[in-house]
């Protein structure tokens, strides 16, 4: 049981490091897309390893934690995708001076198809 405790503590620590990096990224990054990247990617990994660590610390809760992890794995990329798409449609510009906008072509062709 001692080894489970160490594994759980390691995962909780890892999760908190990732959540901290995500918060730092949201504070520091220049535009909305970079902030989304920092916020969602790190919170996915951070929350997942945090829940996994709690599952190791309390083995009775492991099944529930895995269910929550699956839910986060499905819902978090979806929400970040929808937010980024909404931001692009609202016309929020990129930060960089020399823009590399790979989505533009797809977006234009999709617009033509819809209208």
């Amino acid at each position: 049981m001692e080894i489970l405790k160490y594994i759980g503590s390691f995962f909780v620590l890892l999760g908190s490091v990732f959540l901290f990096l995500g918060a730092l990224g949201i504070y520091r990054m220049p535009d909305v897309y970079n902030r989304l990247q920092a916020g969602t990617k790190s919170s996915t990994l951070g929350a997942m390893s945090m829940l996994l660590g709690i599952g190791f610390l309390q083995p009775d809760w492991m099944v529930k934690m895995i269910v929550i992890i699956i839910f986060i794995a499905v819902s978090n990329p979806l929400s970040s995708h929808a937010l980024a798409r909404g931001a692009y449609r609202a016309g929020l510009s990129l930060f960089q001076k020399e823009k590399i906008d790979a989505y533009e072509k797809d977006y234009k062709s999709m617009e033509d198809k819809e209208l």
């Binding site: 819902s75 979806l78 798409r85 819809e114």
Partner: protein, 239 residues
């Protein structure tokens, strides 16, 4: 003359309010000692678990001790929803179009919404069925279910819920709530008296009428909030 009358009215209202507030000792601890049953809060905290075998004291207060108040709250929500619907809802005329959602969302979001939607419904049902055992209850579960429907409205622009079905669900849930109350009257107790056996603590079927009422409230709130969302999203405008 009119101004003097208004001033007089203000003085009267102010005097009544000041008189009322001066009798309340603000800042005084009204809970009292938890062990001595001198206050109503201490009574709830000390007696709910033994007498009703309900783990969630908030639910016991909302549904059991103050069930009539909850019936009023549900009625207020119903009136708000039907008022909104009566102002905004009308059939589409020629040349009108939906204003809110003009384009379909991406295929990724549509597939994901289809995947998550049943899970949200199950979570909402879990929250209101276990209202007497875990934190949560009818209002919260209904709001969760309505948020699932909001996800579907956002993902699919042609997704509609029939107003007839919503009205039927809402009416049947309301009738269930009131008839549980009248059942108490018929069996010789007061309106909304907890007449069923309370069972053992932490069983799903325990707490008497509390799960019944919270299931009714959950369906009612879910139907009402979904109706509000449906009405707001299908607001028609002249082109």
């Amino acid at each position: 003359m009119k101004r003097a009358f208004i001033l007089l009215l203000l003085v009267v209202v102010g005097w009544v309010l000041a008189d009322t507030f001066s009798q309340i000792n603000f800042g005084e601890s009204r809970m009292g000692d938890i062990k001595q049953q001198e206050t109503v809060g201490a009574y709830y905290l000390n007696n709910t678990v033994e007498k009703l075998s309900v783990a969630n004291v908030v639910t016991a207060i909302v549904v059991n001790y103050r069930g009539f108040d909850t019936l009023g709250e549900v009625t207020v929500l119903f009136l708000a929803a039907s008022g909104l619907a009566s102002i905004l809802y009308r059939r589409k005329k020629r040349g009108e179009h939906d204003v809110m959602i003009l384009k379909n969302s991406s295929q990724l979001l549509q597939t994901g919404a289809k995947l998550i939607f049943p899970a949200i419904l199950v979570l909402g049902a879990y929250v209101f069925i276990h209202g007497h055992l875990t934190p949560g209850g009818g209002f919260q579960g209904g709001a969760i279910i309505a948020s699932g429907f909001l996800l579907m409205f956002m993902a699919y622009k042609d997704y509609h819920v029939s107003h007839n079905v919503l009205t039927w669900v809402e009416s049947i849930a309301g009738i269930l709530f009131v008839s549980v109350g009248i059942w108490g009257l018929i069996s010789g107790a007061t309106f909304l008296e907890n007449i069923l056996g309370t069972g053992t603590l932490n069983d799903l079927v325990s707490g008497g009428i509390i799960p019944l009422i919270y299931i009714a409230v959950g369906f009612k709130v879910a139907a009402e909030l979904t109706g509000v969302l449906e009405t707001l999203l299908n607001f028609k405008t002249e082109k």
